[in-house]
């Protein structure tokens, strides 16, 4: 049993890296996802197409491939142009990892945010505009605050997904939960305990989060039916 505990504790050492990357990425994802959602709803055809292409490309490719392109492909390209670029000079491999997770998540978040905004009755926008608010002010003061309540559960689900997705970052040199387990496995050859430990380390992050989301959704549903 001790070997399983050890596997778990070693995997847990990766939790700070996994959580830090996920947290920064979800913030990038929310901000850029909002921008994408707003672009896809503007009158400008160019912005609409750009947002659509971005979302299709990101959703149509595995995050591991995106991470490899960002972490190794881009430095290779820049070096072939004679630019001496190394991620190590810009904060280490965790930087491309966070960028990829954030901008990957943005593509998914944008759809969530867009549907949240569209769920708001269009009378709300009309009422805000008829008070003399600009479109942007109406979005900021009236539409987005209401949309956030609708979006929140999906947003938290995206965070859970992101935590699990960061497991691919071991391949680009980030020592997160899975990588900790792999490293220990290759030195101890305790393969089963190593990966069970990794699985448990993810579960202590994701399961409580999912429970909180479920609780919030139930609370909202009760509120809805009471109103």
């Amino acid at each position: 049993m001790g070997v399983y505990l050890k596997g778990f504790l070693i995997a847990c050492k990766g939790i700070p890296a996994t959580v830090a990357v996920s947290l920064i990425a979800i913030v990038i994802g929310a901000a850029f996802g909002l921008l994408l959602a707003l672009c896809s709803q503007t009158k400008s055809k160019i912005l609409q197409v750009l947002a659509k292409v971005y979302i299709d490309v990101v959703r149509g490719t595995p995050m591991l491939v995106q991470a490899l392109i960002m972490a190794y492909g881009i430095p290779w390209l820049l070096q072939s142009w004679g630019v001496g670029f190394k991620w190590d000079n810009f904060g280490g491999m965790v930087v491309p990892a966070v960028i990829v997770c954030g901008f990957n998540s943005a593509a998914y978040m944008s759809e969530v945010i867009r549907s949240g905004i569209q769920a708001i009755d269009k009378g709300q926008m009309e009422a805000a505009r008829s008070l003399g608010m600009s479109h942007g002010m109406a979005m900021r003061l009236v539409i987005i605050p209401q949309a956030i309540r609708i979006i929140l559960p999906a947003f938290a689900n995206e965070f859970v997904t992101l935590i699990k997705e960061t497991s691919v970052l071991g391949y680009v040199g980030v020592v997160e939960i899975l990588r900790r387990g792999q490293l220990w496995n290759s030195s101890s050859f305790e393969t089963f305990p190593a990966y069970i430990g990794v699985a448990l380390a993810y579960m202590i992050l994701t399961i409580p989060l999912s429970k909180i989301i479920n609780g919030y959704e139930r609370k909202m549903a009760r509120k809805e039916s009471a109103a």
Binding site: D121, A127, R129, S130, L131, M133, R149
Partner: protein, 241 residues
């Protein structure tokens, strides 16, 4: 100079022509009621005035100033709008619903805005509801708050788009009473309504619309009691039972 001048207003949705050339003036302090069957274009006409619908052709002048895409935000502050479905902001308290416009659009002082909002709530008889959220109010109360919200911007004219159509019958009176008192205080009002009793009692002028045209217009007595056009007579015979 008229408060509102509508010149050659046309509006189409795709191939569907909803307004086919509307000319109408509204004077300061005047109450204009627009009646007519569903789909006659009366709501669309009202929504074109503050450009919630963009006119296909024609011009709207408010206070002699042409309303266009460039000045619409500032022009809308002169026109209070009340909707059939209230459209209060559900995430804001009643008081915040009244102050959100003045504070953010007019950059008014928060405290002054709140004091003024309380006076307006008193005026519509809902001062004790200031801290409530709209979902806790009845339909009639919500619509009175919506009227107060529009008044908080100090508009020069109030636009009402079937303000009592979504209400339970027993709540229609309280909303109409607020509107009557506004009219009595000299507010310029354009009211799209099915309440013929209200139109008779309060309107200075009534227009009957059908098929995107103004079919008949005049004093309430002319249009509602002694209509000249067959289309008007037909409509009134169906609604005034």
């Amino acid at each position: 100079m008229s408060m509102i001048e509508i010149k050659g207003l046309c509006k189409s949705f795709g191939d569907h022509e909803v307004l086919r050339g509307i000319d109408q003036n509204v004077e300061e302090g005047e109450v204009l009621c627009i009646v007519g069957p569903s789909g006659s274009g009366k709501s669309t006409m009202l929504r074109c005035i503050n450009r919630l619908e963009e006119p296909t052709a024609g011009e709207i002048y408010v206070d002699g100033e042409l309303v266009n895409e460039g000045n619409i935000d500032s022009m809308r502050t002169k026109m209070g709008m009340v909707f059939q479905s209230f459209n209060l902001f559900p995430h804001k308290s009643v008081l915040d619903n009244l102050t959100i416009g003045p504070i953010n659009v007019k950059k008014a002082d928060k405290k002054e805005s709140e004091e003024k909002a309380m006076k307006l709530l008193e005026r519509v008889g809902l001062a004790e509801k200031a801290g409530e959220y709209p979902r806790n109010l009845s339909g009639g109360q919500q619509q009175r708050v919506a009227i107060a919200r529009a008044l908080a911007m100090d508009p020069e004219v109030m636009l009402f788009d079937e303000p009592t159509s979504a209400l339970d019958p027993e709540m229609v009176g309280e909303v109409l009473d607020v509107m009557k008192s506004l009219a009595k205080d000299g507010m310029t009002m354009i009211v799209v309504t099915h309440e013929m009793g209200f139109a008779k009692e309060v309107a200075d002028k009534v227009i009957f619309m059908d098929g995107g045209y103004i079919v008949e217009q005049g004093t309430p007595d002319d249009v509602l009691n002694h209509p000249q056009m067959d289309r008007t007579k037909d409509f009134l015979s169906k609604v005034l039972i």
